[in-house]
Amino acid sequence: MTSSVALGPDTQESTQTGTEASTDSLTAPDIPWNLVIWNDPVNLMSYVSYVFQSYFGYSETKANKLMMEVHKKGRSIVAHGSKEQVEQHAVAMHGYGLWATVEKATGGNSGGGKSGGPGKGKGKRG
């Protein structure tokens, strides 16, 4: 990812916290597929964070944490769910221009969202 031009970083703290997961009691605890976002040198860090906030309804704090994980580690698991759910997310991410793949969960999660889908919080489909 790239941070681009010198429009100052947005340091304002979000008032929302990452409480999405606890509300999702309909989803089984160990669902076997992950949505992975891969780093690339083109997508803007601000844009990736915006996509995580607007599509998944993640808080600014959580979206920035996942975005930095993509940037620094090369990839991040940003959502879990059934195969159909994560495939639907992947198509949406491709629509935004993010490089997304789906994979079977192996158990060793490297962080990321626990929720099965968007639609919580201020989620808004783009």
Partner: protein
């Protein structure tokens, strides 16, 4: 000179010079023509209606492959199967956003609704992904190298011209995304 997008009472606004509008229009058109399926006439009309495309293949062009990537890493067969079900509608939604953004260029001042802004941000992103492939941007060092190119008087070959265009669209997208993030915070 273009003015950065900003969020205010009227929503998200921006300003572009006529030459900048023409540049963006041709960039949007280029990406639209890359994404338009070439063999629409041969399609089974029923399959096309429900978005299926059994003749689809993984694109050979790198830029197109970046716009329409495989959904499963290291599994071409499963990715192809998924592509047959989804690629047509993905192409159409990208084309829709690019067309919508191109239409906004007809107005003097850009005043974007939230939906317009979403179209613009994805349209600019797709343009940048294509330009980055043409410029061979493979890693952060390549991106930094391209980013050094800021002076239009230095544009003496296709590559330096493309680099300047890339930097302009990057600047424009960054200012738009900052305005969109501000508008999200302002929303109750």
């Amino acid at each position: 000179m273009a003015k950065a997008f900003k969020y205010g009472l009227k929503g998200i606004t921006g300003f572009l010079e006529p030459a900048e509008r023409e540049l963006l229009r041709s960039l949007f058109d280029d990406v639209i023509s890359m994404l338009e399926p070439s063999d629409r006439g041969k399609q089974d009309p029923l399959a096309a209606l429900i978005g299926l495309d059994m003749d689809v293949r993984e694109p050979s062009d790198r830029a197109l492959r970046r716009l329409l990537p495989n959904v499963i890493k290291d599994d071409a067969a499963a990715s192809l199967e998924f592509r047959q079900l989804t690629e047509r509608s993905l192409r159409e939604s990208k084309i829709g956003a690019l067309r919508a953004a191109a239409l906004d260029l007809d107005k003097d001042e850009l005043v974007l609704t939230p939906a317009d802004a979403r179209h613009w941000s994805t349209a600019l992103n797709d343009v940048r992904l294509v330009l980055a492939e043409r410029l061979d941007i493979r890693d952060e060092a390549d991106a930094d190298h391209v980013h050094q190119m800021q002076d239009w008087s230095q544009a003496e070959d296709v590559e330096s011209y493309l680099a300047l265009v890339y930097n302009f669209t990057t600047w424009l997208q960054e200012s738009l995304v900052q305005a969109m993030l501000q508008s999200m915070e302002a929303r109750p």
